[in-house]
């Protein structure tokens, strides 16, 4: 595994995102929506609110914070392979010595860093705002350690899941927009899982949070392996699956590396 090659991929991807209006716009506007909406909800909760009302309001915030890492990364990740194929840059890259695993890891890292960074920044801003201006009953629920731990651990792990899903769709899709829509849709079922925690259907405790985080990590690692296997150079270049030898025993069967 070459860190230098992975770093080259990350650098290139980040440069491209920065100069892509659609990506910059999405990464700028979506988080604003996610920032304004929970704050409006939370500041409406009075000190006299019932426990159910408070739980519901905090649940909305918590859910929105966990939606960010599910919704933002596919915008970038879904573009990563099919976008390159569309603009004709994929084939030159595939003729270099970069192995598929490193290329995908670089692309995943490039999508991961800004998405998770933004998600954490927004969460931090929300926490500060709640600390400063929200009702005491709200503060007591939000600053509950297992809740905070859940947010800290689940944000990157959910982001990784969305990214691998986005890249997987991107390796098989024929069009960038279709890939982005499919990747976002495919990430939605995860929201069911986050809702259970956000609305405290499953009350988060430290052991439960750590256990779930480890399970998510295992899913992410498995997803990375599946995506690397899905990355078939021949299919990406020609649209056809790699051939099996049919004529001679000495034939070359797999020439990719």
């Amino acid at each position: 595994m070459s860190r230098r090659r992975i770093a080259a991929v990350v650098r290139k991807e980040v440069r491209e995102f920065r100069r892509n209006r659609f990506v910059v716009g999405t990464m700028g506007v979506l988080p604003l929506v996610f920032l304004v909406s929970p704050l409006v909800t939370i500041f409406r909760v009075p000190d006299s609110a019932s426990g159910t009302q408070v739980k519901a309001a905090v649940g909305v915030i918590s859910l929105l914070m966990l939606i960010i890492p599910v919704v933002l990364p596919p915008v970038i990740a879904a573009y990563s392979v099919v976008g390159e194929r569309d603009q004709g840059t994929l084939e030159p890259v595939l003729t270099t010595p970069v192995p598929a695993g490193e290329l995908l890891l670089g692309k995943a890292a490039a999508a991961f860093l800004p998405s998770v960074g933004l998600a954490y920044v927004i969460y931090a801003v929300v926490l500060v705002a709640i600390r400063v201006g929200a009702a005491r009953v709200v503060r007591a629920v939000v600053f509950h350690p297992p809740e905070l731990l859940a947010q800290l651990l689940f944000v990157p792990l959910l982001a990784l899941w969305s990214i691998w899903l986005g890249i997987a769709v991107s390796t098989r899709a024929s069009d960038v927009r279709v890939a982005q829509q499919l990747a976002t849709l495919a990430g939605l079922p995860v929201l069911g899982f986050t809702s259970l925690i956000s609305f405290q259907v499953v009350t988060p405790s430290v052991p439960l949070t750590v256990g779930l985080a480890l399970a998510l990590l295992a899913v992410d690692v498995a997803a990375a392996r599946v995506v690397a296997r899905l990355f078939d150079r021949e299919r990406l270049i020609t649209g056809a699956r790699g051939a099996r030898p049919v004529r001679r025993a000495r034939s070359a069967t797999r020439a990719t590396g």
Binding site: K12, E234, R244, A255, G257
Partner: protein
């Protein structure tokens, strides 16, 4: 190629099938180090497919190959790609990145030492130093092609595959690309050039192969002409001969035919033997000779003769 020197490419009965469609069938050839090798054929003949197989992008259905000394097999993909560079038909540049950023990315993928120096060197070679910090989006098609060529030279590969490098370029830009390919030859780089521009192949290539799904012929352009066409002398005189059969009954002339008033085509075994004898006979017959020259067949004639006569190929 010296006996010790290993060929840059050895291809043995390479075949590629996409489902029911046979894209390349039983193709065998070798390319010497430093050779500029032309791969010609009509659209759909299997040129790009062959390049993609040799560049480890797609898997052969059958056959074997050695690329830059390495056997074409699964475990050698990365090592082969380290020794080669491919310039695809479309330049494939990141248009939102600058010229230098595009090259820096590939320098990173090849893990090149002193990347900045290398980038400066290849940009100088393609005369683009002054455009290093321009976005590729702002470059003309010809300039983008030059950037792609610079990218192919970046890793100092043993073999450069150029897939239709002048497709869609105007004559001036094409000539610049030809000059750069000449530069690669001077550096001793093996160039594998696929093209259907025959004048380009004739001008640049040491040898050419003509492909139409299967290999139709291979050799130096002049060899192919000699192999395919009989030698012909074209005689032009001021007035038609009264008894041409008597005049052309000279040693070295196999047969003759009139080709318009005062114009005759003579099939000869060796033009250097026949031409003086024919000249003497014409003068002796009192003819006013306007010209006497050997007919020149171009590579295009060879190509058309082979491809048109090949019923089983692409197109």
């Amino acid at each position: 190629m010296s006996a010790r020197e290993e060929p840059a490419l050895v291809v043995d009965r390479l075949t590629k099938r996409f489902g029911d469609r046979l894209a390349v069938e039983d193709v065998s050839f070798g390319v010497a180090p430093g050779e500029v090798f032309g791969f010609l054929g009509p659209n759909g003949a299997g040129k790009t497919t062959t390049v993609r197989m040799l560049a480890t992008l797609i898997r052969p259905t059958a056959g074997t190959a050695r690329v830059a000394g390495l056997r074409l097999e699964p475990g050698n993909g990365v090592a082969i790609r380290r020794r080669i560079a491919v310039m695809t038909e479309s330049p494939g540049l990141y248009l939102r990145l600058t010229v230098a950023e595009n090259l820096a990315y590939f320098a990173g993928l090849y893990e090149l030492e002193r990347p900045r120096e290398r980038i400066e060197r290849v940009l100088a070679a393609v005369d683009l130093t002054s455009r290093a910090h321009d976005l590729c989006l702002s470059l003309s098609k010809g300039l983008r092609q030059r950037v792609a060529l610079a990218r192919a030279m970046l890793s100092e590969p043993a073999i450069v595959f150029l897939d239709e490098p002048t497709a869609g370029l105007d004559p001036v830009a094409s000539r610049e690309v030809h000059g750069l390919i000449g530069g690669l030859r001077e550096r001793g780089v093996t160039v594998f050039l696929t093209t259907h521009r025959l004048e380009e192949a004739e001008r640049l290539c040491d040898r050419v192969a003509i492909l139409n799904t299967r290999l139709l012929t291979i050799g130096r352009p002049d060899e192919l002409r000699d192999r395919l066409f009989t030698k012909t002398l074209v005689v032009r005189i001021a007035a038609p001969l009264a008894e041409p059969e008597a005049v052309f009954a000279v040693p070295g002339v196999d047969r003759w035919r009139a080709d318009g008033p005062g114009r005759y085509l003579l099939t000869v075994a060796d033009a250097r033997v026949a031409a003086p004898a024919v000249t003497r006979a014409l003068v002796a017959a009192g003819a006013d000779v306007l010209s006497l020259a050997e007919a020149q067949h171009s590579l295009e004639d060879v190509y058309l003769e082979l491809v048109d006569g090949d019923g089983g190929g692409a197109r």
